[in-house]
């Protein structure tokens, strides 16, 4: 099944998995002083990997994009970044060899052994055979993006092939392929075996007498419109359910135009499941529908394959190919990134939700929607100043709030004094579990359960909201930067670091957001401390950057702050990759325990009674 998709590539080049390590490469983290390194730094490439052949999905894909957003390499080396863009990656689709060379020149391949020695050349580079032994990173998702023309070409190639092998017309080959849901092997096998039946089943009757045609039958009354006029043209497929041609056309028009169906439209008769064959459709579909009809037929190619999915972005016509199967979703969160820039989960099509696995996301979103009334009051955009009670509106992404009236400085999330955060830094990413005595009381229990949920929801929602505010802020800043450019003579390129910072903030907040949904379902074990520490580090880095980002435009243009922002940006991105790699590795190895079953459909366990929350620490 896989082999037919890309026969040129199949078997020639083994799955190539590579990883950029630019996250670690050039810039060193700036806020070292505020951040004791609690654990050895992981790189995006080095630490935990496993053998490519067994880990890689069995696809003939030859390209891999490392998938950490637009982050891991964006600030270290803008030139390399540009060269490495998805566009280049795509333009090399047809030439895998070039692709590899291009990648090699990027110098981003590393082995666990040599990652500490940056100047040691990658011995593997340029040697195609050694690609076979390339290691794979847990965060790496292999995928490939196809533009509409790529999809069309793949279909055309398949049609050509079947046309040659089976010696049937291209039109018939296309109909048969769709009938077999683009499973070339099965089609060829079945056709060789019993051609007559295959043609019949696909509606390709062989005798002229069986050709679908419009007929005028005396005494006929259409069961849909109840018309029975003389000369009324009617039509029926093999089942013999006959309707007038007007009704047939209106039925098809509705299916095609409104319901987006084409390849599997059933007979209009109540309870009849027979699919209207392509020949009949060609005969009945009116010219104004033809284009849409063919477009829909093309879509079946993507929709019939588990390894292909449409990019869910509204204006995007690309499809993404990925080998991650439904059953893998308890082990991996397959975020892919389309050429249009949209990053989404291949498993559930929802916007990128790493590190939380799909099932947790589904449960979390459902929970949030079910509890929306409770959640509503927290999600309000205003809070009272803890000191003077005047209402404060959050207008930027940063959590460091200063009351305009009394100048009281506090943390938006926990409402605690900000200066206390300054020394013990972030105390606010972790929910302090309640004592067992309190939990024994049934009433307290439900309160703890609610509070626990609200704790995580609050933080989840806060980052969701902050990401939006950061984006707004960037838009505003961008406008001012344009003005500033005019006045100060700074070039457009020179202000692009703000774009990178804004992107980093949004991507990192997106990740942070989901770490809280993840944490909500996470049962405590010896690994959760590391996770929480990573979460804290990322949160701190993000708040840091966010705060700088909110400085007045005049300040932003100063060289010192610019360098600072650039450093913080790459630090944020790095922290994010570290967090995600840790969660991805433990997920792949089954080391996390969740309060709920990751296999969908399992009953939801009340988190209060789950091991992670009732156990005392």
């Amino acid at each position: 099944m896989q082999a037919m998709m890309n026969k040129d590539a199949a078997g020639t080049i083994p799955p190539q998995t590579r990883k950029r390590k630019a996250a670690e490469a050039t810039t060193s983290p700036t806020p070292d002083d505020t951040l004791p390194n609690k654990r050895p730094q992981l790189t995006s490439a080095g630490k935990h990997q496993l053998e490519g052949p067994e880990a890689a999905p069995p696809t003939p894909l030859t390209t891999t994009t490392s998938h950490n957003g637009n982050d891991s390499h964006s600030d270290a080396d803008p030139a390399a970044d540009a060269m490495d863009s998805d566009d280049d990656f795509m333009s090399n689709l047809s030439s895998e060899d070039d692709m590899i060379q291009e990648d090699d020149s990027d110098n981003d391949v590393s082995n666990p052994e040599d990652f500490d020695f940056d100047d040691e050349p990658d011995l593997d580079s340029g040697n195609k055979d050694s690609q076979q032994t390339m290691k794979r990173n847990y965060l790496d998702i292999e995928f490939k993006v196809y533009r509409p023309e790529d999809i069309q070409k793949q279909q055309d190639d398949l049609v050509d092939e079947v046309n040659m092998i089976l010696d049937i017309s291209k039109e018939e080959a296309a109909i048969l392929l769709r009938h077999f849901r683009w499973n070339r092997e099965r089609l060829i096998e079945d056709y060789m075996d019993k051609p007559r039946q295959v043609l019949d089943a696909a509606g390709l009757a062989q005798t002229a007498a069986d050709q679908p045609r419009l007929q005028v039958i005396p005494g006929f009354m259409c069961d849909i419109c109840c018309e029975d006029g003389d000369g009324l043209e009617s039509f029926a497929i093999k089942c013999g359910h006959r309707f007038c041609v007007n009704c047939y056309r209106q039925y098809l028009s509705q299916k095609i135009r409104e319901e987006g169906e084409a390849a599997r439209i059933q007979c209009p008769a109540d309870g009849c499941n027979l699919i209207i064959d392509a020949r009949s459709l060609d005969l009945l579909v009116t010219p104004e529908l033809t284009e849409r009809y063919h477009e829909l037929l093309m879509r079946t190619y993507v929709e019939d394959k588990e390894s292909l999915k449409w990019c869910p972005s509204p204006d995007c016509a690309n499809a993404v190919e990925c080998g991650v199967k439904k059953k893998d979703l308890t082990k991996v969160v397959p975020t892919v990134s389309c050429l249009c820039g949209h990053r989404f989960c291949f498993g559930c099509i929802y916007t990128d939700h790493q590190p939380a696995p799909c099932e947790l996301v589904k449960r979390w979103l459902k929970k949030c929607a079910d509890d929306s009334e409770t959640a509503n009051w927290i999600s309000a955009n205003t809070k009272e100043c803890p000191k003077c009670n005047s209402t404060i509106e959050k207008n930027g992404g940063c959590n460091h709030m200063t009351c305009r009236k009394c100048k009281y400085e506090f943390c938006w999330m926990c409402m605690g004094l900000w200066s206390e955060h300054g020394t013990s830094w972030y105390n606010c990413n972790r929910f302090e579990e309640k004592s067992g005595a309190e939990a024994r009381d049934a009433q307290a229990k439900s309160r703890v359960s609610l509070e626990r949920y609200l704790h995580y929801y609050n933080r989840y929602h806060n980052h969701e909201q902050s990401a939006r505010l950061d984006k707004d802020l960037y838009m505003k800043t961008e406008k001012k930067m344009v003005e500033l450019q005019k006045q100060s003579g700074m070039s457009w390129i020179e202000v692009q670091y703000l774009q990178s910072a804004s992107q980093a903030l949004q991507t990192c907040r997106q990740t942070l957001m989901w770490t809280y949904a993840f944490a909500f379902y996470l049962a405590r074990n010896n690994l959760t401390e590391i996770f929480e520490s990573n979460q804290k580090d990322l949160e701190m880095a993000v708040e840091n950057l966010s705060e700088m980002f909110e400085k007045p435009v005049q300040d932003l243009a100063q060289p010192g702050l610019k360098v600072d922002i650039m450093d913080k940006t790459s630090y944020c991105n790095k922290r994010r990759v570290i967090l995600l790699e840790d969660t991805a590795e433990n997920l792949a190895k089954g080391k996390w325990t969740f309060n709920v079953d990751l296999v969908s459909g399992a009953p939801l366990v009340n988190p209060t009674s789950a091991p992670g929350t009732s156990s005392r620490r």
């Binding site: 849909i224 419109c225 209106q250 059933q266 109540d270 099509i349 979103l365 509890d371």
Partner: protein, 204 residues
């Protein structure tokens, strides 16, 4: 319009030889697309001898699109929203199942059928469905209390004015449930999802 002839024929079929327990009137002779249907609960159902009002509407592109049905008489049933909207979940009416040659008479028979055999696995009211599965006696008690209160006497065909009214109903004493309070789930706090059709779609 193509649908007029068809609807007229269906109306004639349904009124000259009406299916058991079903009677149909037209609220306005000028509009064939809206029917008032009175369903008498089958004797072997828990809803007997209740009589229920339904409004059946056929869209302009009927029969290519399915008709819609709303209960105007309150009913305690897993597949019918327990509110003044009376939305009903019928497989037959879903766009993937509806065919232009499907007939109203079959729809009405299906409606009467789910009074005998609710489908708790495809519910609109999860709580009632759970009760139906777990505690049949309690369910029947509640269903009968509703019949007693709403489904006796003259059948009304007044449709709910505002879909939003569902939310406030918890506190609305006037539209409240019978004395036994079979209506809203008691003790539900924080407004979680016992409501009707407001369930969020999980990511696909």
């Amino acid at each position: 319009m193509a649908s007029t002839k068809r609807i007229a024929k269906e109306f004639a079929d349904c009124t000259t030889a009406p299916p058991p327990g079903i009677s149909i009137t037209l609220p306005s002779d000028a509009d064939l697309h809206t029917w008032h249907v009175t369903v008498t609960a089958p004797p072997n159902s828990v809803y007997a001898p209740g009589r229920f009002g339904l409004i059946l509407k056929m869209p302009t592109d009927y029969p290519f699109k399915a008709p819609t049905i709303n209960f105007t008489t309150r009913i305690y049933h897993p597949n019918i929203t327990n509110d003044s909207l009376g939305n009903i979940c019928l497989a037959l009416l879903k766009s993937e199942n509806w065919k232009p040659s499907s007939k109203i008479i079959n729809v009405l028979e299906a409606v009467r059928n789910i009074l005998v055999e609710p489908m708790p696995d495809d519910p609109l009211e999860q709580r009632i469905a759970d009760e139906y599965k777990r505690d049949r006696a309690e369910f029947e008690k509640n269903a009968r209390a509703y019949v007693e209160r709403y489904a006796k006497g003259t059948v009304n065909f007044v449709q709910a004015p505002d879909p939003k009214d569902d939310k406030s109903k918890n506190n609305d004493k006037n539209s409240g449930a019978p004395a036994a309070n079979p209506g809203r789930a008691a003790g539900r706090q924080g407004g979680s999802g016992s409501g009707s059709a407001s369930r969020p779609a999980p990511p696909a």
